[in-house]
Symmetry: C2
Subunit: 399 residues, 2 copies
């Protein structure tokens, strides 16, 4: 039997999805599970997108241009320019979800063995993308006590070497929900110019900023035209994760042309996804107002509920729809499996993502979990109640 | 300005798509172009697929399982088992088009620097997938004089080294249309077992076999359960290139689990594409009968038309919807650009893919072009007339 590749062996399983078999078994056993483990919102997709899908009128389901249809890119440029990104449609490369945008950016910018600095905890799939491209993630620690604020520039500089090629941020952050400030971005701007580094900006959660705080993108900063690569997706903004439409944006023409070659190899993004994505840009503001109000309320419910449980600490994040909470437990992986396998409260339980999967540094996140507040408040409260009860009886309780 | 990666520099531009700017200019100049350059069929997508898309009833456009929905994989297994593949739904990993299936297979099976043997000319994007995974394609020559039959096993053995990990075939072949025989596949079976190699079988054109000839898959051969990886797509079968739905099939459980990790990193294939793909399996046989009849007639028109032009030779292929033809020209790249830029016949011209892009070995394919017979016969005849006229006046004519 031929051997699989070393990369295949090294490739991490999704820490978010690896508990799925235990959840499946729990469901088979008749338990109801509150899914706080995955960023799959329960929010309805805008009607305009679904109508666009239902009203497709093509007879041949054809390839589009590798970079996306002109029509969709024009519309996207309007959307970004409303946010003051000052970009042209030709700066936009439409991708199969944000995932492909990240993969293409990594492959186009970094050689195998070169390094990208990412504050941890970070979106676990970055490990998968890096592994599949043989590039190295250099994590620098952000801490729950500061709400996972950007590490100081000194910390970045400590790990910069001749191999460092890029810095990546996810803003607002998955998994921490932290929303980077103007000052933090300014500091990154200076750093990227000083060391001539790419700045990857994963903005999947751009629309999810709370408490009246403003979203700042590196696209708003001057002098970074050749450095910034925005990685985006319609998945979260419009609750359309299953459409698999994202994009890569850069004003760096050489990089764009390079990214395009990777895009050409896979031919094109989906036609119908782009049609729906184009319709999505016309989603009325009232949709986002309602969504933002809902998520703010959910966050408040979740964060205050968590902090009211004995031994639990959860910072109050400014964006996205995740929190990382510290629990009085010995081992998050064990706890998240145990709560599915060996626990129920009124025949219900909770699925969470162990935070260990979001840290690169071994030993971190063992008493932390990531929770996505993608359920209605009623369910969130029930999930919190479950968690509280579980912590009372978990054999590996530490506090 | 940060440097782009060496891989980004090495990454080949699509030889099929790189002439697009010249075609765009020709269109701007008012010329009508017959597109024989790309495998985008003009055949209508089955009504059942489009209806499935129009009748979607989800309210939240959600992620699916990374390996695809259970429902679609069950349906796909039925489809494959009708073809006697004897597979379970759990052997199927749904992908973002055939492209992603190929990428995942390469990454899961081969280490950077390891080698895959592919008879050339071969589907040009294999170069892109190999480059993006840092793996090495070892081409072995197939020749137009034999209609691009499989090279002899001796030729394969000549290039097998300790680094050889896999053999890939595309059957029926893109770009040559060659349909491999039972004997050729048997020979590959023995070879793969002898050297313990993976056998990648790209079967995008499975349904396109002519003259009553039967399609044979490595899945039909015994003893290769751990070696065969089928790479498939619904793009061509159902004229649904823009849906971006394909799959990877393997009975090798270790490989499947490894491939799944790559699939988890990119989360999931599109939901609506899988819904339509599921409906596609119920496409009535009458659809394929009509399509097969149409393509046979087109092939006959194209091949006989080409062979009637002075100095042109085109073998009569058994499958797919491509031919590679030899033309009396100095340089296929130059000719294919010239015919768009500097030529017209009654204000019409033809777009073709230079065969050079399908060969790895430098200097090959310079007097060959790939033509996709994806236009109706009327248009094919006009395109042939254009080509004939062009060859009469092309400055680089050799015969």
């Amino acid at each position: 039997m031929p051997k699989i590749s070393q990369k295949g062996i090294n490739m991490p399983a999704s820490p978010i999805r690896k508990l799925t078999p235990f959840a499946d078994q729990a469901k088979k056993d008749g338990k109801k599970i509150y899914h706080l483990n995955i960023g799959q919102p329960d929010i309805k997709t805008p009607e305009g997108m679904l109508s666009a899908l239902k009203n497709i009128d093509f007879k041949v389901w054809a390839y589009t241009a590798s970079e996306g249809t002109a029509s969709y890119r024009n519309k996207l440029a309007q959307y970004y320019n409303k946010l003051n990104y000052s970009i042209a449609p030709t700066d936009i490369l439409v991708t199969n979800g944000g995932s492909e945008a990240i993969t293409i950016a990594m492959q186009a910018c970094l050689n195998p063995g070169e390094e990208i600095i990412i504050p941890e905890p970070f979106y676990a799939n970055y490990n998968g993308f890096a592994c599949s491209s043989d590039i190295v993630i250099k994590p620098i620690m952000s801490y729950i006590d500061s709400g996972f604020a950007l590490p100081s520039i000194t910390e970045f500089e400590k790990v910069i070497t001749a191999k460092t090629k890029a810095i990546a941020i996810c803003n607002p952050n998955n998994p921490t929900g932290y929303l980077y400030s103007q000052e933090e971005l300014e500091a990154l701007r200076v750093l990227c110019l000083k060391y001539d580094l790419y700045l990857f900006s994963d903005e999947a959660y751009r629309e999810f900023c709370y408490d009246g705080r403003e979203f700042i993108s590196p696209m708003h900063l001057e002098g970074l035209e050749n450095h910034v690569v925005v990685l985006d997706t319609i998945s979260k903004r419009y609750s359309a994760c299953g459409a698999r439409i994202g994009c890569l944006i850069t004003k760096n023409k050489e990089l764009y042309q390079t990214a395009l070659k990777f895009a050409q190899a896979r031919l094109s993004p989906s036609l119908e996804g782009q049609i729906a994505g184009e319709a999505a840009v016309d989603t009325p503001d009232s949709y986002f107002d309602a969504v933002s109000k809902e998520y703010t309320a959910r966050r408040d419910t979740l964060v205050s509920g968590l902090n009211s449980i004995n031994g639990v600490f959860c910072p109050n994040p400014g964006g996205a729809f995740y929190v990382v909470a510290k629990l009085p437990i010995d081992n998050a992986d064990r706890f998240c499996q145990w709560i599915l396998e060996d626990f129920n409260y009124n025949n219900e339980t909770v699925m969470m993502a162990p935070a260990t999967g979001f840290y690169s540094t071994a030993g971190f996140g063992e008493d932390e979990v990531r929770l996505a507040y993608v359920l209605n408040q009623e369910d969130l409260k029930k999930a919190l109640r479950c968690l509280e009860k579980a912590l009372e009886v978990y054999p590996g309780k530490t506090a």
